[in-house]
Symmetry: C2
Subunit: 146 residues, 2 copies
DNA sequence: GTATTTCCTATCGGTAAACCATGATATAAT
DNA sequence: ATTATATCATGGTTTACCGATAGGAAATAC
């Protein structure tokens, strides 16, 4: 299950994605629009900023915007930043691989084989869906294929 | 990510699945073979018992065996018992559906649409793989299709 | 009736999730 | 410059869950 943090991140990013142009949005505005806890959202956007998905300006007239076009930001990127590996087992993770503590032989582990397929299926969906696609889909029809 | 508990459960069940016939296996034997904490495994098998995946007999000569043929027990069943919903959001869960706390309209939520596909992909893999298939696959080739 | 083995309840330390409070720092308008 | 406005940084709180263990009750075989 996705963390609350990750859900909030996706909500915020989708709002920014819908915001055409380079207009900056305030944390408080996003929080209000989506009913998110403001301080928590602040921390989330900060993390997204450090990871290059979002850019910011501080001080009066400041705020947040996407750091790149919405079709270059995928759900997979967001989930990995917020919640870590997509894989159900670290030993089948591509981006966060780590051997299982007590595994005698990774190559013959039946659980691993199954979970590898799960990981691939999840990654296929999440890495294959961008913010732009999700927004378009929400408008009634998927206009962008990726 | 799967919990440790769930991993242990799958390991134990695969051992039982490999055990032909109705021979009972001791908790201590399973624990020893797979290097699992015995007391913890005890609790896990108890839970699997209460959920009908496993049957037991107590006292001398007692132990555990699968409650039904290995091709009728799927990874999906096990994961749901141990870790709950497969879905990344409760609002897209089929077996554990629950509305998101702060969702204004479930039907237009873009995040939900994406996560629904993820859920389906995961369920397809896990519900489509039985203990028997995993064991067969481990022997080099999948002999059973389901 | 005694040894064996599962069943049941309770507990515990550690860790992470979800926030909140406070203040520092950068920016723009006055 | 000063002030109002925002983001940035740090640290704490509360709650809940995860992984595991302890101790004994209940059932079964010999």
């Amino acid at each position: 299950m996705l963390s609350q943090k990750c859900k909030y991140a996706l909500q915020a990013l989708l709002i920014l994605a819908r915001q055409a142009g380079d207009e900056l949005l305030l944390v408080s505005d996003i929080a209000e629009r989506e009913n998110l806890p403001k301080k928590f959202l602040e921390a989330i956007l900060l993390e997204l900023n450090r990871n290059g998905l979002v850019r910011s300006r501080r001080g009066r007239g400041g705020g947040y915007a996407l750091a790149k076009p919405a079709d270059l930001i995928t759900f997979g990127q967001v989930v990995r930043i917020m919640d870590g590996p997509l894989a159900p087992l670290s030993c089948v993770s591509v981006n966060y691989y780590r051997k299982c503590d007590d595994c005698r032989d990774e190559l013959t582990c039946e659980i691993r084989k199954v979970m590898r397929r799960v990981r691939d299926a999840v990654a296929h969906e999440l890495d294959g869906t961008s913010l732009a696609q999700a927004v378009a889909e929400g408008r009634g029809r998927a206009l962008l294929e990726g």
